[in-house]
Symmetry: D2
Subunit: 341 residues, 4 copies
């Protein structure tokens, strides 16, 4: 198993989460500016074995692994990931360029494990492929919409986000911009969330294609002075009367829970009943950062009656929304298709 | 003119705004715990004339004025304001208890000056009355909905707020609760905004009654680590196709602008075209804190096509949303009915 | 073992740290307003055994324990702690009232374990007593001064603090006071630190008395917008030439390390060599919050030459500076005098 | 009068302060990346006359002015400023490279106007020169030390700073670094403050040379999450007994006050008597950002008795500490030597 771009902020988070992984063993790492150095010169706190790895170029010919994680920056991810896939590697990426590719499954393991069929024939014939994970703002929304859509048929969603600083990477947001302030815009985000969510909730048709869902999704994406944890305020309209949405959310589980995958939280969705939760600082580490916390569930009101639902959700953007989500996806792939990491 | 509860945080803001007012002259102030002291002992930075005023009890018999401003805390506002009105005073309040009273006009001077007819007969016969101003979160929303409703017919609104710390008063929100955090709940707010907005946009019927508007309004009210300025993210659906909403918002003016009232901003709504505005810290003082700043206007999308609009708005919660709004209301009243302050 | 005032913020931290303690078992808890309720009604996340404890009055006759921890608020600590001591209890307190009592040892286990001799005769004759732990701002300063004083003789200290919000308790500092701000004053703190530090570094004379050290200590105590972790900037002058202060600090250990007490960090002082450490958010959990992190050590300069030292230190104010420090003190007492908790 | 680097953050602050200046008229501006554009394309909110200026290269041959302000970044300031001086321009700079040059006066107009004699002969012979203003952290310290040194003889200073984000420029400090944190290091700052302060308080000898003062100054420079306003905690030791330091500080005035220079505050030092002032957010705009606010004055204590003084001071780092300080210096130069801006 290899980690591309391992010396960046997110790359280091992968190494941290993988250092004691029961299935996966990092045998190669790549970087951009520090090629030839030992990983330990960049990350002195890693275990000895990892520190001794040499940082290589992000080039398929240099890497001795089957599966690669790609937390590469958007600018280079597109081409590099394609090269690796063409060279026969299994690429799991949390970068955005290939998410909407028709031959790349976009996966949240609890939601749409069957989308992996898209790459099944390539897998069996030993060819490479790309499996993508969604944007950090999409993840929590899609996780909560899945059981609600299954139960009540979601027709329309209005989502307003309160996104954490770490979502912008490092150095990211200047402190002078965000202190005593909110920034009511995050580039590209309001387009990604609807497209990705509808792909995630789409139907896999005949093993070859994903027919996206057709929920109308309106987003407003905003940056707030919070370190980690994306909070989202959701309004939705359903096809059918909404009954006991709390139970529908709280009892939702998926393949990772059934298969007891190592990084799977026991509950993908945790419901809090206090009237002022979820809160980023208090709830972001729920389920080791892998659970989405939902609160303030309220339905009904207005002429729309029992076909309207409002709630807040919180997801840890750099764990479930990045490295953790990708690792869980790799675990699902490994388990379903009996691949060693 | 008197200010009740003048020694509280909001009371002092009234005194600050009134100290050089061209029409109104503060001749009496009341307080709770500091009765008998000179105002200057509490507020040493006020002009000499104000500093020398004695702090009196909030009792009608002690006050030698015609018009009183009431920034009293909710707990005492209800009874005290009623007593003053019964004793013949003209009460302008930004407290909540009487806002929904059927005989109390709820006023934003640019929106519904005709609602003052509700108190016209009492005014002419020398009787007292209460005129209320809305909640600080309602104000900006209602100001922007008014021209949009007149032009396109607003059917449904989903509003998510990012509210400032000063909205909770002092000491208000503990720093341990809000540092590196968002609190997704503000007590009572999500109920007040729909009710007040529909009253503000309602029709005055036969001089006696307000028939509220019937817009479906869904709110999510949240506290963020910002000192002043309520930011709101708005989604709305209209009856008619939305065409050039930017112009509709920007060119909106009302009676205060036509009458050139002293506290009226030249534009009730200022539109910013940058993709990351309005921002609380940068925009809250627009129009001396009396203008609502709108940005990120985007319409269309989804099946709803041209009958959907999204935007952000920002209103200074302690100026337009409290003292400033009440003073502008008093100016309107004074001008329309030729009352000296 | 009992915890007085267990339902307050600090009380709950004691319960959290004690819930799996290898030596101590909480058998009684007291509270103020919630007497008669089960602890689980206040703290639903505690283990079953603790949740089932009944909250009792803070009265000696109600408590069935030998040792009591007292995180009581200052206002009630003085009298309540005295009552418990008179009734024969061993009281360990992190409250301030008894810290400077001549018959109460003030203890940082690594610094002055021999001060416990003050209570030895009472202990042996089965009488009660009070053992105090220092102010959260004193702790880190005293821990770093001890080895420096032993090696070089500290003559004068100028300390400026950057103290965390949690040091003010809850609700504590209003967010409106600290957002985009620093508050350059904390009541009482600048007097406590010199007095307590000199008592801590004092000599135990003939088993009966503490002769305080006589370091001149000048403090400036300030509140900053940080959740946990008191940062202090220290300047000091010594009697003797300062040589290799880094080694003196880093190699310092005390009785807790030698006795391998359960809550003892392996290093009381951790030295960081980066030029921008220690930082509150990055370093406060060093040694599980029990280590003091020192950085930016620089000596020499000016006419004072090699008898001047400057450094920064960081101590977790609610762990080492409160509950953790008191529990470590109890562990020392238990080990030295063979007491069961 | 010209402003070099006028399109940067500090450059725009100069334009803002100069746009209605009674003496100085900006006739030329220079920039780096935007040469050839109109100033109005970069700064649409400036008055018409300024908006129409063309942005030129920072080259002496392009500039038609006598006096130039240089808020250039350190990297280019050294060479560019020298070129302008050699070409006969009067350069006023707030950049650091030339501050310690033996032939460049370092000026705070209230402190050392006589240091301008260093450039008097060049001025009279029509040659160019550089006049520097100090680092934003030096300014407030030096202003308060001047009257204290004159009255009591300052021997030693220990200063710990709480510096604002704007001191690091834009984008400056990443929000991820400073949220819930303090950064205990600012590169170069701890060396500049002692050197500059001693030059500022130095004696001008025979019109040719500055003999620096010899106060021992120990600094600890720290970044906190505050937008504007550097707070400093000061400890000092004096030669003589300190008597009524409050009066000494409060009554201090200098040439700018005597000459009634346009940007001079009526009081260079404002003393606050509350025990929790100065605070950055509340006090930074004192005297339009040109006054230094001092509080928490306390003397005596320890063996050092009445020869020790402690206090806090606050100075607006981008006004008095940058553009405002440079403009006041230009005003002094213009008045003393009868130069038109």
């Amino acid at each position: 198993m290899a980690v591309l771009g391992a010396t960046g902020k997110v790359g280091l988070e992968y190494l941290e989460m993988l250092k004691e992984h029961p299935w996966f063993r990092v045998v190669d790492v790549t970087g951009n500016t520090k090629v030839g150095m030992k990983l330990g010169e960049v990350a002195p706190d890693l275990p000895t074995r990892l520190r001794s790895l040499e940082i290589k170029e992000s080039s398929p010919s240099k890497i001795d692994a089957d599966l690669v994680f790609s937390p590469l920056p958007t600018a280079v991810a597109s081409e590099t990931e394609s090269k690796f896939a063409e060279a026969g590697f299994k690429v799991i990426t949390d970068a955005s360029p290939h998410r909407m590719d028709s031959d790349a499954p976009l996966i949240i393991p609890e939601l749409n494990p069957e989308h992996l069929k898209l790459i099944e024939s390539r897998l069996k014939s030993g060819k490479g492929f790309i499996v993508a994970t969604p944007n950090c703002t999409t993840v929590g929304l899609a996780i909560t919409l899945k059981p609600l859509d299954d139960s009540f048929g979601v027709r329309k969603v209005v989502m307003t986000s309160f996104q954490a600083l770490s979502g912008a990477g490092y150095p990211g947001v200047p402190s002078l911009d965000i202190e005593d302030n909110v920034i009511p815009f995050i580039s590209g985000e309001e387009e990604k969330v609807p497209a990705e969510t509808n792909k995630l909730l789409g139907k896999q048709v005949g093993g070859k294609e994903i027919k996206p869902s057709s929920i109308e999704i309106f987003c407003s994406c905003n940056r707030v002075a919070v370190i980690d944890g994306h909070l989202e305020s959701v309004y939705l309209e359903s096809e059918r009367v909404i009954d006991n949405p709390r139970a529908v959310l709280e009892t939702f589980i998926g393949e990772p829970q059934r298969l007891k995958l190592p990084s799977a939280p026991s509950q993908p969705i945790i419901v809090r009943d206090e009237n002022d939760r979820p809160q980023p600082r208090l709830d972001r580490m729920a389920g080791n950062g892998m659970s989405t916390v939902v609160g303030r569930i309220r339905s009904g009101g207005g002429r729309s009656g029992k076909k309207v639902l409002q709630y807040h959700l919180l997801t840890h953007n750099t764990i479930r929304g990045a490295a953790g989500g990708a690792i869980l996806t790799a675990e699902l792939l490994a388990k379903q298709y009996d691949i060693a990491g």
